[in-house]
Symmetry: C2
Subunit: 83 residues, 2 copies
């Protein structure tokens, strides 16, 4: 069994209203040292695959087809083998 940890983030040029709202909330709470905030998604996927390459290909396809919107989002992932 493989565990994929997938990070989906907005591309740097894309406006991030959720990140701006979090930044505003943090500053209102007194965290004046906060410069900027970007919000993204973190997804853990457990999947069966014969080897690392097969798992990598599967997760990449999942990101492209469902998890990320390639027009406005970037994705990256780590893979580890779990029992």
């Amino acid at each position: 069994m493989w565990l994929a940890q997938v990070y989906v983030t907005l591309k740097p040029v894309v406006n991030d209203p959720q990140g701006l709202a979090i930044r505003g909330g943090l500053r209102n709470l007194g965290f004046e040292s906060v410069e900027s905030v970007r919000a993204g998604k973190y997804i853990e996927i457990k999947l069966e695959a014969s080897d690392r390459e097969a798992a990598e290909n599967a997760v990449r396809q999942m990101c492209i087809k469902l998890l990320a919107n390639p027009v406005i989002e970037d994705f990256r992932f780590d893979l580890e083998y779990v029992a």
Copy 2:
């Protein structure tokens, strides 16, 4: 300037309808090898702090006070110094 990468995940005992929906979507798309999916948040914060300890304390407080709901969510974060 410090960059904090914050991961907020639902505690393992908490139901994750968003993760279940993603799992269903992936399986419908033909990714039958997907066993389970957990959805979480990924937040990047840039902040000023005098040293690593100060940055760590600030980010921990941000997580407790705003970013995570400690009743149902866990959080962890990585810190790195950026120019």
